[in-house]
């Protein structure tokens, strides 16, 4: 049981508004082992982002059980979710979401401000060097290319040494070369650090470079494909 990083049982998420109810996830069961590199694929509205948000403790499930490295987000208060996010999870977004007033190094340092007593972190400069941006430490987001921006975002996601890295369409704003470079970096982190990585993407070719593809459609798992390397 301890081998699982993420375990979902009948996981359901309903978004309710005044006029309608949208069932984004329909009681899905999924288990992702520690050290797995998994792709979530599916058309828009399939429930990929909802799944990542629940796993990333940004949202709570409507029903079902969810276990993130032994923690249940449904039973955790806001403060506890915040601790899980800072200590166990790294997030990479499609739009990078870097703070424009901070340079690359400061953007990577940002989670450390909020980490308080949590000291298990990597030196931000070392991380930027690792993602190949040691020559861009003092550059601001508007001075970087799309590929570089996403690498800074990855370094920021890794600064607190998370056990799970979640990436929501991380190549959506990148060209083919940079997209491949990013996946190569993910693979490297997965092999060398044993990092569990879950990526939501539309890119089939990149999806096939991971260990497993979970196909989501209309809130359900349509296919769980384990790729033989």
């Amino acid at each position: 049981m301890k081998d699982f990083a993420i375990r979902a049982n009948k996981l359901k998420k309903i978004y309710s508004s005044e006029f309608e109810k949208i069932v984004a996830l329909k009681e899905i069961d999924v288990e992702i082992k520690k050290g797995e590199f998994v792709t979530i694929m599916g058309p828009s509205g399939a429930g990929k982002t909802t799944f990542l948000n629940l796993v990333g403790c940004l949202d709570r499930p409507t029903s079902g059980k969810l276990d993130i490295l032994g923690c249940d987000p449904a039973k955790s208060n806001e403060e506890k979710l915040c601790r899980i996010r800072i200590e166990k999870i790294g997030f990479v977004f499609e739009d990078f979401f870097l703070i424009s007033s901070l340079n690359s190094l400061e953007n990577v340092q940002l989670p450390l401000i909020f980490a308080r007593n949590f000291k298990n972190n990597t030196n931000p400069e070392t991380l930027l060097k690792r993602v190949g941006l040691d020559h861009r430490l003092t550059h601001f987001p508007n001075e970087l290319s799309g590929g570089e921006l996403q690498r800074v975002a990855v370094a920021r996601a890794l600064v607190n040494n998370p056990q799970i890295l979640l990436a929501d369409e991380p190549t959506g704003n990148l060209d083919t070369k940079n997209a491949q470079g990013l996946f190569d970096l993910f693979r490297e982190l997965n092999r060398e650090e044993g990092l569990t990585i879950v990526v939501a993407t539309h890119n089939i070719r990149l999806g096939h470079s991971t260990d497993r593809i979970i196909h989501l459609n209309d809130g359900k798992i349509e296919q769980d494909e384990r790729l033989v390397k």
Partner: protein
């Protein structure tokens, strides 16, 4: 990197907006410091002016006692004249310690104030004047050679301006505008830091002769042996129909009462300025919170707690208010002279000495006051930012 640096960088992002908000706070602080400083300074200057007069009691012609007293404080003539005989009549009163007759006349000098024209005050005095005013001493020269000599002693400031303008000093002759008589400058008084520093002093009889009001006085200054004998003294003077007795402490009290009433108005102005500044601060911070909803969401996604976001926004507010407080204090210190000049022009009676008393205590009070206001005005924007849910704000940008 610390919270402070992050907050500072956020403010730096919108330089002109932050600068204007800091400017608004600075103006409010400067207004507060100047108004409170004026209030304290006026009170002190008035007290010192009244104390320097040396009189406890003033006898003038009947009329509005406060107007008469204010005119004497300003070095102007009384409303009406009293007969010199009254002075001779009361000089032997047993309660009187010291007494001096005064004749104050205003003379229009078209050359005054660089040709703009203005009034000069000429006081006819006797030797007893010096006894009643211990702080009035001769700096140079000597007392008048006789009771009706055509001589003049200059107040300190008047001597300086005459020296500068006419290159005349002790021993030289000056003339009174519109009069034929020339007066020899025989002495200069030491600085008293009161309005008398700008006066001309003549022997009483000379003044009566030149201004053609012989046998008349504008007032009589009196120091009693014991101030608690004032009522008895006043009662003895009741039968003299043409005069009134004014206690200077009463005058001081009345003027201060008037100033205190003005204080309420003054404070209202200060509070309006502060209120406007608070609204400005809240508006600026709130706007920057709304502009950064997605950024705040991301910070939460990467581990920032509610308290972290609250702290961040709060520090931004505090930086604005602290900088506003510092710049406001600097404006108040260096702009105080200008305010004083303005107040002197507007006020019907402004005592000598500094009107604006900006003390370190006042600056500290205003500075910490604005910090507390900053803490309060940062609460709402900080609360709004802290209560944003990460998932919703990240989505809002999609």
């Amino acid at each position: 990197m610390k919270f402070f640096v992050l907050a500072y960088k956020n403010l730096k992002r919108r330089k002109s907006r932050s600068f204007l908000t800091i400017g608004g706070v600075a103006v409010a602080v400067a207004v507060l410091v100047c108004l409170l400083g004026f209030n304290a300074g006026y009170q002190e200057a008035l007290t010192s002016d009244v104390d320097k007069m040396g009189y406890q009691v003033l006898v003038t012609a009947k009329g509005c006692p406060y107007e008469a007293a204010t005119r004497v404080l300003k070095g102007e003539a009384g409303l009406k004249f009293i007969d010199e005989d009254i002075y001779k009549q009361i000089i032997s009163d047993p309660d009187i310690d010291k007494i001096t007759p005064l004749l104050v006349q205003l003379v229009y000098d078209p050359e005054k104030s660089d040709g703009k024209g203005g009034f000069d005050s000429y006081s006819g005095i006797e030797r007893s004047y010096m006894e009643l005013k211990p702080n009035v001493k001769l700096k140079s020269g000597e007392w008048f050679s006789s009771d009706d000599a055509d001589e003049v002693i200059l107040g300190y400031d008047k001597a300086e301006s005459i020296q500068k303008k006419l290159q005349k000093t002790v021993g030289d002759k000056i003339s009174i505008p519109g009069e034929d008589t020339n007066l020899v400058i025989v002495g200069i008084f030491e600085k008293t830091a009161s309005l008398e520093d700008g006066d001309f002093f003549l022997p009483l009889k000379t003044a009566q002769r030149i201004f053609e009001i012989e046998g008349k006085l504008t007032s009589i200054g009196i120091k009693l042996k014991q101030i608690d004998r004032l009522q008895a003294f006043e009662e003895r003077l009741y039968p003299i129909a043409s005069i009134q007795v004014i206690s200077m402490s009463q005058v001081k009290g009345t003027i201060l009462n008037l100033v205190n009433s003005a204080k309420i108005l003054i404070m209202s102005v200060a509070f309006i300025a502060i209120f406007v500044a608070i609204i400005g601060v809240i508006n600026t911070i709130l706007m920057s919170v709304f502009e950064r909803t997605q950024e705040i969401g991301i910070m939460k996604a990467i581990g920032a707690s509610k308290l972290d976001i609250f702290k961040l926004i709060w520090i931004e507010t505090l930086i604005i208010c602290t900088l506003g407080g510092i710049f406001g204090s600097i404006i108040a210190i260096f702009g105080g002279n200008f305010t004083e000049l303005l107040v002197r022009k507007v006020m019907p009676y402004a005592p000598g000495g500094r009107l604006l008393l900006i003390t370190p205590e006042l600056l500290l009070f205003s500075f910490f006051g604005v910090i507390i206001i900053g803490i309060i005005s940062g609460l709402y924007p900080a609360f709004r930012a802290a209560s944003m849910r990460p998932i919703e704000v990240i989505r809002s940008g999609e």
